[in-house]
Symmetry: C2
Subunit: 235 residues, 2 copies
DNA sequence: AATGTAGGTGTACGCCGTACACCCGTCAAG
DNA sequence: CTTGACGGGTGTACGGCGTACACCTACATT
């Protein structure tokens, strides 16, 4: 009875926060209903009184992350508003390295994600974009809108436990690999800002993200200024 | 004994092709060692004499897909060479809808993928790109280089069995959703080429892909022509 | 005091990946 | 011709997973 009082009663919210903490700390592959229940001091089936199944749990976790994205900055041009909101989304995602893969593997958007996208479209429309161009822009941005670039192989996705004692040295390329892929070897040391590798080992991820983001935003700005429509494409 | 002769002996290659066929036909979530062994008329553990484990099986499957990408077109400008190779990669990926998720969920590149990336960098370098710029360009392109745009929610990823009797009508947006997300509702019907939706239901995916690809390529071309380096960024 | 109900429990089922011991056909060496 | 090694298919078994289903219990309502 003292026990019952000691631990707070289960609730959907408490479950979601525990799940996010578990995934943050031990990697998404350690997130099982059994592990999660254990962390909450409860039997696995107890969770099902609050979430329908594991997929719905994942959806809820995604909504927690999306909820951490800052609201849009008011009274700014569309370009600055979009840029800063996306960078805020990126920061949220970086606190939860499991989130990109979780989002990509779900096959329907949650209401919170839809609300975020809706507000992003709203910013574009308010900035003078035609619905047509806004549509294509949303597609072109893809999941970068949510703050993650789709690197082919993302070091940060390696699940490993966070925090202490995981230096994971840059490693560069092992010599025999460098020999087989000379162009990769060449550019792996090329980035002027840092010792880096295209497979994502030592790069300044933030720089690369902003590089790509600005490349897109500048191109989009140019299209918008020339009243682009899909019927007459450039080139 | 007649049986033993009838069915070809197992081999890594035969396993990989059966695995690809199974994932193509029944979805990646149906690809278990047990199902795969069943399709091959063999006991599950037999597979382990040819592949180390399921992860290595997935790597092999990815290599099969990458092997379907056309070689680079010779004697073309970098822009055309890159563009057409990426579109070829896209066609290969579209034959295997499970591949994008499989690629994203692996955390190290296979040699075949590295070879593909290496050759792509080679094309850029031959086109006059500095190693520095080539590096950033590879990052900016991200997995689009392999032919898939990272849509937030990709209808084609819905696993379902291919081929017959799966019309999956566009559905537009359900009215109550449209009411809550007015901007999404607006742009969902906006694309002039087709009745479409930002959640990927009725869009012309090919158009959207090329839109984003050309947006990037045009921006990249502009950077290259002005001898961009990371030390002096535009804007 | 009776009763409905929300929420935690225990057991069980069918999947999964795969470790490990086994066994059998082929083929080279004696 | 025997023998022994070995490549490759088999059978059993283990621990983990998601979750269906019956249960039990404490509390709120009447």
């Amino acid at each position: 009875m003292a026990e019952t009082l000691r631990r707070a009663p289960l609730s959907r919210d408490r479950i979601l926060r525990a799940a996010v903490a578990l995934a943050d700390g031990a990697g998404i592959e350690s997130l099982s209903m059994r592990n999660l229940a254990h962390d909450l001091g409860v039997v696995p089936m107890a969770l099902y009184k609050h979430v329908a199944n594991k997929d719905e749990l994942l959806d809820g976790m995604i909504d927690v992350v999306v909820g951490e994205i800052d609201p849009p900055v008011p009274d700014a041009g569309w370009k600055h508003a979009v840029r800063s909101r996306i960078l805020s989304a990126r920061q949220a995602l970086r606190r939860h390295p499991w989130a990109p893969l979780a989002i990509e593997s779900r096959n329907m958007a949650t209401p919170a994600v839809l609300a975020y996208l809706d507000s992003m479209v709203g910013t574009l429309r308010a900035g003078g974009f035609s619905a047509d161009l806004a549509h294509h822009v949303m597609h072109a941005m893809g999941s970068r809108i949510l703050g993650f670039s789709q690197e082919l192989f993302d070091a940060s996705r390696r699940a490993g436990r966070s925090g202490t004692a995981d230096p994971d040295p840059p490693t560069a390329l092992p010599p025999e690999v460098a020999a087989r892929f000379p162009h990769l070897a060449e550019i792996s040391g090329a980035a002027s800002h840092d010792d880096a590798s295209v497979v994502g080992q030592g790069c300044d991820d933030q720089f690369e993200f902003e590089f790509a983001l600005d490349l897109l935003l500048d191109g989009i700005e140019r299209l918008q200024q020339q009243d682009w429509t899909s019927s007459r494409r450039p080139r």
